[in-house]
């Protein structure tokens, strides 16, 4: 009798622990994956590998910030990958023409514009964010292809600052951390300590109640999606510094993992629950998992299936956990 009660109580207790400190099991999972990798290929775990893993996890974690912030309100930003690609491509093609600093500013303009359009559609027209951002992503890809024809002869150059951020190392750690650490602190602080951050949680938890208590939800959504566009643009600038070869589909491959990173990190896709710290660990887990899949020579198709399955399983688990509470 006592045993059955204990079994019945176990998922509840696990659920409570996960809800209180979602980062702890994630960090354990990360260490387990690293241990598995070390077991499969002894000697892989060294300072160089750690630096590289962090370097590639950073753009993913930044793009996943777009997903985390929008998911907190129950939305999603599927145009983030395209926005990052556009910014990266624009900065690389404009630098030879107008110089680094103005190219960076010009590259962030389309990112903010797309964010504004998303915010307009989601906040004012009440289109579902998934459909809205998918649509703007499609339009953005078309615009990029038209733009590409005008700059086909200019060649490409990456601003020195982002090349330094993307490829340099300080004390064995990637320079990208100089951008990422302040960024992460800003997001973590913004979500926990500012009114805007609280509003995002409130809107995700119960939008009607938030609206009835006097919040103009369309303003919050407009600001949120614009911010998400800006973050995606910034990610693109950093990512082109890491890859050093602009293309028309540069950051699109980060799109799916960025959703998965936020979901793994404990951000509920239904809104109202989640944290950016979880997302960062989620991005690290996915990067290590990517190395593992490459090592095991898993084809691209199976990778996508795995990412889809992760999103599905984690979502189903969250539904169960929230049902029990």
């Amino acid at each position: 009798m006592a045993a059955t009660i204990e079994i019945a109580a176990l998922p509840q207790r696990v659920g409570r622990v996960i809800r209180a400190n979602p980062v702890i099991p994630l960090i354990l999972l990360l260490f387990a994956l690293v241990a598995l990798l070390e077991g499969l290929q002894p000697g892989i775990f060294n300072e160089r590998w750690v630096g590289n893993t962090i370097r590639f996890a950073i753009p993913l974690a930044m793009l996943a910030a777009c997903q985390t912030l929008t998911m907190l309100t129950g939305g999603i930003d599927l145009s983030a990958g395209v926005v990052a690609t556009i910014s990266a491509f624009v900065v690389a093609t404009l630098t030879p023409l107008v110089g680094g600093p103005s190219a960076i500013v010009l590259a962030l303009v389309p990112a903010i514009l797309m964010g504004l359009v998303n915010g307009f559609g989601v906040g004012i027209c009440r289109v579902h964010p998934l459909i809205m951002t998918l649509g703007t992503g499609l339009i953005g890809t078309g615009c990029l292809q038209v733009y590409q024809r005008y700059v086909i002869n200019t060649g490409s150059e990456i601003p020195g600052m982002f090349e330094w951020l993307g490829t340099g190392r300080t004390l064995g750690m990637p320079n990208a951390l100089f951008l990422f650490v302040p960024f992460a602190i800003l997001i973590l602080w913004g979500l926990r300590r500012t009114g805007f951050g609280r509003l995002l949680y409130a809107m995700g938890a119960n939008e009607k109640a938030t609206r009835l208590s006097g919040v103009r939800s369309w303003q919050v959504l407009l600001a949120l999606y614009t911010m998400s566009g800006l973050i995606a643009g910034l990610t693109g600038l950093l990512y082109v510094g890491i890859i050093r070869a602009p293309s028309l589909s540069l950051a699109n491959s980060l799109m799916l993992p960025s959703v998965a990173a936020a979901v793994i990190g404990g951000t509920s896709i239904f809104g109202g629950r989640g944290s950016y710290s979880g997302t960062i660990v989620g991005a690290l887990i996915l990067t290590v998992l990517g190395t593992l899949l490459t090592l095991l020579q898993i084809p691209e198709g199976a990778r996508r299936i795995l990412f889809g399955a992760i999103i599905l399983v984690v979502t189903a688990l969250y539904v169960r956990i929230t049902d029990q509470s």
Binding site: C125, L130, L134, E300, R304, V319
Partner: protein, 323 residues
């Protein structure tokens, strides 16, 4: 009564727009005729099928984001099997592909019912899964389509006993579309299952309390969406001659056509006629832009903008309806 008037009024309005667009096409390109109509119908075929599938799911109160990936899976299965099994068994291949489509749809529906997650999240995850499956089946565009099956959707209609000149202007692809939609949709709509689909779409709790098996009905709706998606994938393979594992822009196009066709995204309202006319409107518009020698990439931008605008207007209308 006004509801019925409203419904057909919407479709009639769409038909008028379509007629206007076709006349515009004729003005832009004076020799637009039988072959132009044929290629228009053939290009619209996959869009029309996936829109029909999407419409059924939306009527049932859901949305299937994985529909384009399901089409890709069906397309590559068809291309691969037709290449390997030869001409004689092409009919069998079609049955296998349709069964696979229904299977994928049922899996989508069952996962939604089992996980109790929202449709939009579960089908987003399944979008990635089916995309991966398509890539595993065929890593790069390849395979082949059986020639006599291709004949089914290419060219004009010929009926025995009727002079060819009278029927030649009707594209075969259009006949195939109408026939299949009528065969599948009309009996479904009149059946108990069809009524249940409308019921769970308009109010799930009310439907549950009046004895509708909500879970089973939802799975069936996704199954029908899978069937139409398989037809769509099959028609892509038949009209291009190869299987393409990367899904085309069918998801957004189908959502836009469904909204434009008068099916509310909140569910429970509308039919298949409006959305299918909407597909032809969107395709004719693209054709006109191409005939005006607008750059194809610009055409994509215009098309995307129209779709987003349609969905936005639909959202505004739905909001006004709710208040």
């Amino acid at each position: 009564m006004t509801g019925v008037l409203n419904r057909y009024g919407w479709s009639l309005g769409l038909l008028a727009i379509l007629a206007g667009l076709l006349i515009a096409t004729r003005i832009i390109q004076p020799n637009f005729g039988v072959s132009g109509l044929d290629s228009l119908a053939r290009a619209a075929l996959p869009f029309a099928f996936c829109t029909a599938g999407m419409a059924i799911v939306v009527i049932a109160g859901g949305i299937d984001l994985s529909i384009a990936s399901v089409m890709a899976v069906a397309g590559v299965i068809a291309a691969l099997l037709m290449q390997q099994m030869g001409d004689a068994s092409a009919g069998l291949v079609v049955l296998v592909v349709l069964a696979a489509g229904i299977g994928m749809g049922v899996i989508n529906g069952a996962l939604i019912v089992l996980t109790r997650g929202p449709d939009i999240v579960v089908t987003l995850a399944m979008l990635f899964v089916w995309e991966g499956v398509a890539l595993l089946i065929l890593n790069a565009p390849g395979g082949a389509a059986t020639p006599w099956m291709r004949e089914l959707v290419v060219g004009g209609l010929t009926l025995p006993g009727v002079p060819a000149a009278m029927t030649m202007w009707v594209p075969r692809a259009f006949v195939v579309l109408v026939a299949l939609v009528v065969i599948i949709w009309l009996p479904l709509r009149r059946s108990k299952l069809g009524l249940s689909i409308y019921a769970i779409g308009s109010d799930q709790h009310a439907a549950f309390r009046s004895g509708v098996a909500v879970g089973r009905t939802r799975i069936a709706a996704y199954g029908f969406a899978g069937l139409f998606a398989a037809l769509g994938g099959l028609s892509i393979t038949l009209s291009t001659g190869i299987g393409e594992p990367i899904p085309g822009p069918y998801l957004l196009a189908s959502v836009a056509a469904v909204v434009l066709g008068g099916v509310a995204l909140t569910g429970g309202k509308g039919g298949l006629l409006g959305p299918i006319i909407a597909v032809f409107i969107l395709r004719t518009l693209r054709l006109d832009l191409t005939l005006l020698s607008v750059d194809p990439n610009v055409t994509t931008i215009i098309e995307g903008t129209i779709m987003v605008a349609v969905v936005m207007a639909g959202g505004l209308l739905a909001m006004r309806g709710r208040h």
